[in-house]
Subunit: 300 residues, 4 copies
């Protein structure tokens, strides 16, 4: 398929590469040109503007940082210039893989419909290494035929697909709820390791038990990061973690569902950010629990 | 070895049976005689009193409900009568598998030392089915030689052993921290499923994604219970969950470590108990999250 | 002065009346005409559109429900039509008494500056009865000369003025922080009264002690509402309380200040709304605490 | 009346002095003799042991730090020696002014009854200055005739008395709930002032508004301490604040009432203690909110 791809960050770049390897044609646009180089080398074409990128494409894929970036790229019509949505061909599909709000997903659904286009949400679970290894898990939602049309693309970037329903926002809510669950694990570990460490025990011995208990790669991976207190480089930046917890709280407010654990985690992310950790891995929220126990300058 | 076994509840009974099957001799004592029947059939002898049970034994094993039960059985010296600790032979070992407080574990360590006896904490992870299938995970702590002496017993009840250190309380703290982590999973799922359900999505479809994400038997097991809203019969009763969260908070207070997530979970257990759920599975804390979203009478 | 007044709700109407009584000229605009009747009787003139209302005025006063209403009335320029800000005379002042966000207050400051107009925030503390009795407390912020220019208006509606600084947002933040403090009192009372009631004590006897302790009209007023469980009619609606707690959390996020108590209160307001209490007095958050203790159907 | 007085701390000493000034006879006992000097000078007699102190007294008054001190003084019967309760004359009354648990108050009620003695709880609100100025507020509970018997003593130490019921624990619960409400004010102020300060505003200007809003001596007093960040010397030590919040949580657990705000405050007190603030005024919990916003080293 002819793909227009937006968003060559540490998730988007390997996803785009896997799509190229699967034999698809690709036009890319990125604000910082240097990130485009490896993809051009792999066969992609560089567009001069976002609008140019979607001319003649079958599918536009977005892997952008947040609501504002997706809105600016797809919907914004500033200074009288055309937006991507104005040039995306009728009948083409926008497959949005970004973690965006339920509200924006609904807005995109309607906007694309009005333009005679299709819209599918295909959110992904996994960190950059998983993206490189084609091991993402895809949560897709949208009209059945469009899901099937996009399935080869999903297969090219991941190890499996869960279809969440016919309404695109269902994939977004699933992603938001999943990230909330991950953030809860980080908070839980932060508190548990603070207790164990301040009591004078070896955190790595405790981690072995945690792994026996959960037998989960999520716990193994984040447990190691937290036991080692190794929060750089970030697999997923803490400020994006705050954004995602905010999306969960916002989704909860929309349907009057309190999420007190999300509130607690959010407040700890704010402290982490106040202390300059916005670009550390989001697992660094564990340091807030350690600091609350005055463990900052202790060893172990 | 000659074992005196105390506590034939839904964890203790299968553990005792596995010890008998491994060829050990056993004297049992239990307040409710009928629970003793299957073990007597399997070769155990019934003692008339706790004190009689430990005469001539090599090891006394306790799998009792809480601090108060362990204290009453082992240490209490009421009405001038002898306590178990007064009759346990010098050189014998007390292997305590109950989930008790760090403080009581320290008190037992000293008390047994004064009596020329040995003390080992060997706490276990796993629900009744795991106990039956000899699949518990054992967290042991105590003097090295006593751990080795008790290892055949641990092997007889579990699938593996983590040695946490030379001080018995280390095994208790590990168990307490582990149960706190499990309780956090239940709270997290409660909130996430409330969000997903009230938004109009199928909780079982969401559970599939959760399983893809965590790939953990803990999430699979509790996720099913919560998605099905099937909280009876209880694998682990909610009022025991409250007790264990209390132990975590108490252990935190001892070393000045706040555990705000434990506080949140504790408050939700109180609401669950206020509403009559004390004998449901502790996963029923998820219903509090659902009720807070006014999901009580809704389907899905 | 010639005043254009927007927002004749249960706060705005008595404020406007007091301004008329102080001898000012007034043009009013309100979407629902019947609310204008008592003011017209008192001498106000009804404008056909918001834009008409500000022609020739010295000061435009807004007492609207939220950010969106202020934005729509003052800034919105829909369908190519002029907005209020386009017609407010150069040199005139917009005195905004609504509880709006710090962010919108900053935006208004800049927008009015660009239009050669002045902007003052003059937020108010007090419930509808206080507005009627000219007993509001005014928190003002803005350029010194404009504060002085508006002071007669502030004196006409309240019992005193605190000048918070030269930047209008300072008055908004003060109001937001004050409402957060009030909301905290309601949560505190909700929990304390739940404890006292479920223990079997008389809540009114406890209220007497609370009044001896705090000797504050705020505690006396809300304490009575909560002890009587009389949440209708609403002095301040619960859904506006949720909005204001949201403004506090938003203001905190802007400067990376976690407000865990605001988060807790917000979650309880969501539950209250999920259960249909959005139009009760915001003190009804106390019922959530009572329900969490399963006190719903009990007397006392 | 002939009074035996126990507990000459910064509350007990001025209370005892006011009782002497009211013309009562007094025998005192205190572990640290130097604290007794001013009272002996004012006419009190020093007893050699607690047991000696109650010989021939009409009323024993306790103003001790916590459950453990009250238990040790009144009930403990160690090494075969008599306890105070064994020597307090039949028909005498124990008037307990300490902040103790509901559970211990119930235990004392029964123990004194068994000994043919009377028991009244007369807890007090107010800081040391209020005790000196005879301005405490007394919350009394117990049998009607005993309350009346003790009323002259209550009048001698305070400005007023609220009678909470016929069961002594009702006075204890009232005190516990009142201290929870005060602690909530401190937490609320801590968060509100952190928000205001980090936004760049003057905390004293904000305090003026708070005083206009609440018009309460409690807010004026603690607001000044927090705005000045002057937490020494302590009027009420933070570690006692933690104890009292613990009593509230314990009282809540007894009747299955969650107190999430108490939980939040408790966790912040733990952090304050972890950071070495246990002997500062309990208002220093506000510093935790400031530190969570990384305001530690900032001025203002």
């Amino acid at each position: 398929m002819r793909i227009a791809f937006f968003g060559l960050g540490n998730m988007g770049a390997p996803m785009a590469l896997n799509l190229l390897r699967a034999g698809h044609q690709m036009v890319i646009f990125n604000r910082t040109a240097e990130k485009a180089a490896p993809l051009i080398e792999a066969g992609a074409t560089l567009a001069r503007t976002p609008v140019d990128a979607v001319e003649n494409c079958d599918v536009a894929i977005t892997m952008l940082a947040n609501d504002s970036a997706v809105r600016d790229t797809i919907l914004a019509n500033t200074s009288g210039q055309a937006a991507v949505i104005d040039r995306l061909p009728r009948g083409a599909v926008h497959m949005c893989t970004s973690t965006i709000s339920v509200a924006l997903s609904r807005e995109l659904t309607e906007a694309h419909l009005r333009h005679g286009q299709n819209y599918v949400a295909a959110t992904v679970l996994g960190r950059p290494e998983a993206a490189e290894q084609k091991k993402l898990w895809v949560m897709a939602a949208g009209p059945h035929d469009q899901i099937e049309r996009c399935r080869p693309l999903m297969d090219a970037i991941g190890r499996g697909v869960s279809v969440m329903g016919e309404q695109p926002w269902q994939a977004n809510l699933t992603k938001i709820a999943s990230n909330f669950m991950l953030a809860s694990v980080l908070e839980t570990m932060g508190e548990a390791f603070a207790l164990v460490r301040k009591s004078g025990m070896d955190p790595h011995a405790f981690l072995d038990v945690v792994n026996s208990l959960f037998a989960s790669p999520v716990y193994a991976n984040y447990g190691r990061i937290i036991a080692d207190r190794q929060f750089k480089p970030a697999g997923f930046r803490l400020k994006l973690g705050l954004k995602d917890i905010g999306l969960a709280i916002e989704a909860g407010q929309e349907v009057s569902v309190p999420l007190p654990l999300a509130s607690l985690v959010r407040d700890h992310y704010l402290t982490a950010i106040a202390r300059g950790r916005e670009n550390e891995d989001w697992a660094a929220v564990a340091e807030v629990a350690a600091e609350n126990a005055d463990l900052v300058n202790r060893v172990g």
